[in-house]
Every structure is written in C-alpha cells, then in structure tokens.
Symmetry: C2
Subunit: 196 residues, 2 copies
DNA sequence: TCCTTAAGCTACAGTGATGTAGCTTATTAA
DNA sequence: TTAATAAGCTACATCACTGTAGCTTAAGGA
C-alpha cells in the first residue's frame, strides 16, 4: 500500500534526464566500482524499480547517460594566433574533463577492470570520430596554412598537449591559463620547430 | 569447533608478505572501490580475523603493502648517450607502472574519492623525495655535463616524457622501445633544443 | 471524462561484506 | 617439555545492494 509520495510525478525524458545526471554524478564522485542502481535511484529521488524497467545494469545506464551528455566541443582555430588557439584548445579539453561527463569518462578509463563493453561504447558513442583531438585540429590547421611542415604533426606531437594536461589534472589539479601557456610554449611549439 | 585446516601455518612476515601481495593484486585487478578485507583474506588464503588483528581497514593495509613493495628504481645516466638514457629511464617508469605496486598506485590516484590519507601516505612513503622524476634525473645530468642549458629543464619539460607514457598506457597499452624512442625524439629532445 | 500508461511504493528472499567474539591448534621460544 | 603466542576456524548480528513481484496512483491522451 503506497502511502504519501510526491504529489507531482516526473515522467519520460524529465525523469530520464534526472537519472542520467544522477548516474554521472555518482560515478564522478564514487568511481565505477561503487556505482550502484540503489545509489543512482536515491540520488535521482526515484524508485529503484523505475531504473530496472529501463536498464539491466548500472553500466548500461551510464553508457546512455554519456551518450546524452553534451559532446566535446571542437576547437575552431582563429585568424593568426597559433599560440592562443593552442591554449584555447587545451582550455576546451580542461572544461570538458571537469564536466560531469568528463569525470565519468575518467572513472571508466581509469578503472582497472576496463569493462570492454563500456570502453567500446565510449569510443563509438562519446568520442565519435572527432573526439580527443584538441590540439591536433589546431596544429593541422596552421600547418596547412603554411606555418610549418605538416609532417611534424605526428601522433606523438599531437598528444603532447593532452598528455601534459592529463598529468597536470592528476597531480596538480585544474591548470590555469598560465600553466596551459607554459605547456604550449615549452613543449608543443618546440616540437614543431618553433622556439619562443 | 575447528575441524581440518591447513597442517602448515604461516606466521609473521611470511603471512604478512602474502597478505601484502594479495592486497596489491586485489586493488590492481578490481580497483580501490572494490577492495575489501574479505577479498584480500580470501586471496591470501587466510582468515579475515587475522587481517583485523593488524589493520583497521583495507586502506591502511594497502598503504603498508605499498611501503613494503619494491621502490622505484632510479635511472643511472651512462657515459654519453642522452637519447638512450632517456629511453631507458622511460622504460624504468613503464616497468614500475605495470608492476603490482605501480598498478595499485594508479588505482589510488585514479580513484575519484582520492582518499587524502592514502594519497598523502603515497607521497610520503612511496614516492619519497626522489619519486616520479625519471627523465628529470637524466636531463639534469646531461645539462650539468654541458650538453644544453640547465634552465631549459623546467617542470613542464621534465614532465613531457612521463606524461606521454601515461597517455600511452591509458589508450594504447604498454609502449615498446620504438614508441619510447619516438617520445624522446619528437617531444623531449626538441624541448631542450635538440633536433634530430 | 475515462482509460491507458508509466511511475511510485512496499516487501521479499538472496547475497556478500562488516566487525566482533570465543574457541581450537600449530609454531616457536624458553 | 612446556608455555606463550599467533593463527585458524566458526558463528553471529548488521548492513547495503540485488532483482523481482504486486500493488497504488499520477499524468496525459483519446
């Protein structure tokens, strides 16, 4: 016998969005290993049965939540400011990394179990084709504009900025623009033959 | 009433070492979020009560296990081979990263909860003073030998190699010597003004 | 307005981890 | 040989999460 209960009741996408937000928050705070149907339901203030009616497991739910999250923004190289555009593209990356979706992705990628279904889903549904290529887009744009040899944009060079941002996030927290500027000047630009 | 049981019974450091190994294996396989006294006890084939007699929680146990693990090796720059020594120092880092202790550390650092006690313990008891400075040691050695300006070895530059290795481990697995060589040539050496 | 749908609520049995207690027994040192 | 110590074993109450069932009820469309 149901007794009191909320007089206003969410349905459809209203409810689903709340559940998605709860799932991302749970995994970002607790990690994949502590993600439970119960925890998601409680945070979303809904009944556990409502979750089981739609998803068989926390992983499946999480994957849908990530697909529905805002995608990564693409960097849009401007007129003639390689250094500035590189910093801006790293700033985009940082913004995404500290968003609920970004933190959820980190929890998934960092989990030792590396659920293959989850990781594959990530690549197919979140990174899409264009994902994770923040500085690469900018570098290729300026190389094609004739600023330097396109052949210098190797996979390693395209990864330098992202790699240093990841390391900064791990052991020093969120980098400010000065920190991003140092990464660009001291690591990325030298790799394409530009010394300050 | 105890019935059969193992006729040979481990004591002292024999037992403790087995427990440490079990703890590192558990956290490496399952992640910090799934680390339990029960799991460690079962893997070490000992009684849960034996764990509670020594440690109050899985975290405390894990920290002791990490302290007891083999420390990171220091790179020892050789005669006159900057490139080779850099690759060797990154190889040291990779070897450590894929060891039980290294994988446990990754699980701890990657955990969204970032248990402050655990992280602080890591810095004090595992990284010590010298930890995490694989390429830095080599770079400073050659800079002081006059190969390039020591001022070029900034925190960012000292991090380039480690950062790219971390990224490689995350999204492409264990790097071989060719991959390490590309990191050295295309990212580290240009940053200190050396072009192949 | 009525009716279908979807959500909420409660309950339940099952499972696995917790932390403790009290006992038995192997190992080691005296 | 004996005694002290440390480890093993079992049991227990408790808690949190699971997955399911069956019911009640709010929302929204016909």
């Amino acid at each position: 016998m149901a007794v009191s209960g909320n007089p206003s009741r969410r349905r459809g996408s209203d409810l689903v969005d709340a559940i998605y937000a709860a799932a991302l928050a749970e995994v970002a705070e607790l990690g994949l290993g502590r993600l439970t149907m119960d925890g998601i339901a409680k945070r979303a203030e809904t009944a556990r049965t409502s979750l089981y009616r739609r998803w068989p497991s926390p992983s499946e739910l999480l994957l849908d939540a990530l697909s529905a999250a805002h995608p990564m923004e693409e960097p849009t190289p401007g007129a003639d400011d390689l250094r500035g555009d590189l910093v801006a593209s790293l700033r985009l990356m940082v913004d995404w990394a500290i968003s609920p979706a970004g933190r959820a992705v980190q929890a998934i990628m960092g989990d030792p179990r590396r659920d293959p279904v989850l990781v594959q889903g990530l690549y197919e549904r979140v990174f899409a084709e264009n994902g994770g290529t923040f500085t690469r887009t900018v570098l290729l744009h300026y190389a094609r504009a004739g600023e330097f040899d396109e052949a210098l944009v190797t996979p390693v060079v395209a990864d330098i900025g992202e790699a240093l941002v990841i390391k900064h996030l791990i052991d020093a927290g969120i980098p400010d623009d000065d920190a991003l500027g140092r990464i660009v000047e001291q690591a990325i630009l030298p790799a394409i033959g530009i010394r300050p």
